[in-house]
Symmetry: C2
Subunit: 237 residues, 2 copies
Amino acid sequence: MLRSCGARLRTACGPPGGALLPRLFSSEEVSLKDQALPKPSWSKEIRLLFDQFMKKCEDGSWERLPSYRCPALNIQNLETSFTSKPSHSLIKGAAVRKEDLLDRARLFTRSFEDGLGFEYVMFYNGHEKRIVCLFQGGLYLQGPPGFLHGGAISTMIDATLGMNALIVGGLIMTGNLNINFRRPIPLCSVAVIDSRLDKVEGRKYYLSCAIRSADEKTLHTEGTGLFIKLDPGKSLV
Amino acid sequence: MLRSCGARLRTACGPPGGALLPRLFSSEEVSLKDQALPKPSWSKEIRLLFDQFMKKCEDGSWERLPSYRCPALNIQNLETSFTSKPSHSLIKGAAVRKEDLLDRARLFTRSFEDGLGFEYVMFYNGHEKRIVCLFQGGLYLQGPPGFLHGGAISTMIDATLGMNALIVGGLIMTGNLNINFRRPIPLCSVAVIDSRLDKVEGRKYYLSCAIRSADEKTLHTEGTGLFIKLDPGKSLV
């Protein structure tokens, strides 16, 4: 879907791409705790890969992308910028104030407690227009017993391809995801999502990815994504 | 991905399809609190649709499918039945006992507190081989500000098509999802996922769905899914 949250935050922190993006949140409301850094819940396996990629960052060919929980919605900006119409008959069956929404909404991929949901860090290679995402899916992402839910895998594909498209193209929205599930991913194992930009046709950005086990021996999933560059003046709904 | 959790539980509760499925959990470990019933967090909109579908159930043409958090993994059964290899270097960077895994894993679509994540109920029409899923996506499923994450939508498509394929075909695994995102879904609004079985070719089950707003005026998303019937004796990994 539409990418802007991470992008707005990235504007505040320096990485490329943010300059094209609208300011959606007031700085007071944005928690700037970077979630894409090692935590106690990270396994040795993801730490090892993290260290390897941080080493690749030293010559500037790769860069780590910070990531945040993106807690707050500035509903006023939302409605003026995107003419969105979030439902207000939300919590406990009763209407709630916009400020309550603003306080309570969370970015889906950062909505779990540490270690239980999506743990990940993305690294971007500008020359290759490529993102590698190191992903450890926690115990709350279960589909079949002992394995990640297909929806959790789809979510990380959408997040990774979407971030790649956003960096290259600015404000975008997911148009299509096409995902082939080859081998299930064990719960709490580490998977590596390797995504790249395949082509650009006008406002259409085509990307693809493969998900492999940390030891690269197992091809778990392959996916493609089509992302559409948005006209910020145009309504989404 | 592989479907079995809901199916095992449905075996205990009566609806069709479960008889084909292996017993994965001991009854002591399975919480039987049905999550697919109205809760305080449900909006008036989803309650209204729920009541309409419950009325359709009276003549037996439709039936409501119960749904559970499916909390426990019987790792011993897992490893013998599916030769799965869940990672044990999981929490806080250290190895944990199988029993800890068993206690802590949650079905992804039921892993949030009431009202914050995936609220849904599915109704099955056996004659039409069709599932209608009423879905209210909560504040922790945010992608773009004010809208559901594409991964959350993909998750509900996988869950709905997968359940439909499971009822028709028994133990299955997602092979492919192909999703076209037409219009974003506002956070906490109610969407209706209408899925049907299109064809069966050997072990391959082809399904499709459309997601519309509760008032049916907006087509949000369209998707197809290919599900593969499993040989329980065959390793998944």
